[in-house]
């Protein structure tokens, strides 16, 4: 059974003065545990909308989304929130660290919404994750005082701190130079593999996309398989 199963997923948005905007037009996708999937596409092609649906943040207009065989549409909002926190880890293009918090406090944010035992151990778990991404010397540094590469490492540590089974990375190297971006992708691949998590990456960068075992292209709201790359 795939971790994520999408069939005939559509998503449309109402507009004020015209016909509804059809962003996704029947997407079929299966993501298995340990999968490495990259999705490429032009701006406005629906990549972010698809990622929102994969991350249980948005719901499709029509079609089926199942997580571990359970239809997401039948779950209540609170249940979806809990499932998202426990199953999915996000890595954003703009890092999206919370200003004012230290690196460790940012990494610990997801633990505030998890099981009690992990909440009480949040300082230790956050420190261990930061050590894992090579930032043990920056634990108490404010997020705003970190470089771009360091901020993305903190974001990766945050995405992994609850041991998610699915990591969704949206342009993870988009705000970094080529060299730093390469190191970040090496790290992301490594920690995702160590954690046994599936990794779905959305990117413009073909080199980043080529790291995945499956590269998909989104064109006019539909997914197309472009190649099969050995990881």
């Amino acid at each position: 059974m795939p971790l994520l199963h999408l069939r005939g997923v559509t998503r449309q948005f109402a507009t004020i003065d015209g016909p509804a905007l059809q962003i996704l037009k029947g997407v079929d996708l299966d993501v298995a545990a340990h999968d490495r999937v990259s999705i490429v596409g032009r701006s406005g092609s629906g990549k972010s909308t698809l990622l929102n649906i994969l991350g249980l943040i948005d719901q499709p207009t029509t079609g089926i989304v199942e997580l571990d065989g359970e239809p997401v549409a039948l779950m209540g909002g609170r249940m979806r929130d809990r499932l998202r926190g426990a199953t999915v880890g996000f890595v954003f293009q703009q890092f999206n660290l919370i200003e004012g918090l230290t690196a460790a406090e940012n990494v610990a944010v997801p633990l505030h919404y998890g099981a009690g035992r992990r909440y009480w151990q949040r300082h230790r778990l956050a420190s261990e994750m930061l050590e894992r991404v090579g930032l043990s010397h920056r634990i108490d540094t404010k997020a705003t005082n970190l470089s771009g590469g360091e901020q993305q490492r903190v974001a990766i540590a945050r995405a992994l701190v609850r041991s998610p089974r699915l990591i969704l990375a949206d342009e993870p190297t988009g705000a970094l130079d080529i060299e730093t971006g390469g190191r970040i992708m090496d790290l992301l691949d490594e920690v995702a593999a160590d954690a046994g998590a599936a990794l779905v990456t959305i990117t413009h960068d073909v080199a980043v996309a080529a790291r995945a075992s499956r590269m998909l292209r989104i064109v006019d709201g539909r997914l197309e398989q472009t190649s099969a790359v050995a990881a």
Partner: protein, 412 residues
């Protein structure tokens, strides 16, 4: 449990991060809570002071007063047929026997008379109250120096007398202890001094009823003496039975006398009587208006700042925070902030209450000059109001926070 602790932790972290903004927005709340707490405290203090004042005038609840008069005098104690010294002693005997029979814990026969004393500037008149040792407790008579009358004073050859500051001043300078006063034709030993501020500027004295009745001047034809009465402080639930039994007992011991027992403490005046309510309502009204303005400032700053935190809420939602959790966290930020501000406001009030100048002002008219501790009811009210204002003011930005869309907030 963990959710609650985590939500409070989130709120505290946010307050720490945005402390500058929070500090500015909470100044108004701090001032408002200080004003509210002070209003309630002043109200409570005035109420307890007034209660003591009422009780010092009319006795504690329930005080039964038994009066006796000779029917031959037609109810006028100073007309022909008014009780002689011997008659008054007989009345005292009857009253004391009744107190002993019913084992009344606090009771005092009382009588009053005007006698002369030898002051520094000549002979003057003084109002003397004949009272038993229990009278000081029953009427909140605090002694500033020395002591009140005690049981052993009955055995003195020279009667013991408690004087007020007015009488002491009239006697001239010198220590109150080991002093005597020529009172009503006899030498009395001063054992204590009472000073209730302005109330004690005119000379006044207290001595045991029998000692008062035995003064040579009290037995002269020109003496101005009230007949003895009995004050008994009894449990309120026994007031009705006690009234009937005391009346019956004393009347039986005094044939030919008219005896009447009534409840005379101020609480017998009526259940709804609250002379301080208008003042307290005015103070609380003014403080509430200040509080409303403080809360409006708090809401304005919170609403403006919440719009700058939409991305943060999006991030938190992406990592598993539910809408409810975001709502509670934002509201708790406000509650934690106002409770801290309220606590500071209350601390300012307590600090001000303990300032010597304030203590001096508030102790005017209090017997013994002792101010009670800061009314904890006022502090608790202040803290609860602070929490309520925080919850109400916080619910508006919290509603805005949960309505923000995660997708737009984190902008994939």
């Amino acid at each position: 449990m963990t959710d609650v602790v985590a939500a409070i932790q989130d709120a505290w972290t946010e307050l720490r991060i945005h402390r500058g903004r929070v500090l500015m927005s909470l100044i108004g709340v701090t001032v408002a809570i200080a004003a509210l707490t002070a209003s309630v405290a002043i109200g409570e203090l005035a109420r307890s002071t007034l209660l003591v004042s009422f009780e010092s005038q009319s006795g504690r609840a329930a005080t039964l007063t038994t009066s006796a008069w000779n029917e031959q005098a037609g109810g006028d104690p100073f007309a022909a047929g008014a009780p002689s010294g011997a008659d008054s002693l007989a009345v005292l005997d009857a009253m004391e026997a009744a107190v002993d029979r019913y084992d009344i814990e606090f009771a005092s026969a009382t009588t009053q008379g005007q006698v002369m004393f030898q002051g520094a500037s000549g002979t003057q008149g003084v109002q003397v109250t004949g009272a038993e040792p229990d009278f000081a407790i029953m009427r909140h008579l605090g002694v500033a120096d020395g002591r009140f009358l005690v049981e052993s004073d009955r055995a003195r050859l020279a009667p013991a007398v408690v004087v007020n500051r007015g009488l002491l001043d009239a006697l001239g300078q010198g220590p109150a202890s080991a002093r005597t006063v020529e009172l009503g034709g006899s030498t009395a030993v001063i054992v204590g001094v009472i000073d209730r501020g302005m109330q004690d500027e005119w000379p006044q004295a207290w001595m045991l009823p029998r000692d008062l009745l035995r003064l040579p001047e009290a037995n002269s034809p020109m003496a101005y003496m009230n007949p003895p009465s009995l004050e008994a402080w009894v449990p309120e639930e026994l007031a009705d039975d006690g009234k009937r039994m005391l009346n019956q007992d004393i009347a039986g011991a005094l044939p030919g006398w008219q005896v009447n027992t009534e409840r005379t403490d101020w609480q017998a005046w009526g259940d709804d009587y609250d002379p301080l309510l208008p003042l307290q309502l005015t103070l609380i009204g003014a403080a509430s208006a200040i509080l409303l303005l403080g809360a409006l400032g708090l809401v304005t700053v919170a609403v403006v700042s919440i719009r700058q935190r939409v991305r943060e809420f999006g991030i938190r939602r992406a990592f598993g925070a539910s809408r409810g959790r975001i709502f509670v966290a934002v509201m708790l930020e406000s509650v934690v902030g106002t409770v801290v501000a309220g606590a500071i406001g209350i601390a300012i009030c307590i600090f001000a209450y303990r300032l010597p100048a304030v203590q001096e002002m508030l102790t005017q008219g209090l017997s013994g000059g002792e101010l009670p501790g800061f009314p904890m009811g006022a502090a608790i009210t202040g803290l609860l109001v602070a929490a309520a204002v925080g919850a109400i003011a916080g619910s508006i930005p919290a509603t805005i926070a949960v309505r923000s869309k995660v997708i737009e907030a984190i902008r994939f």
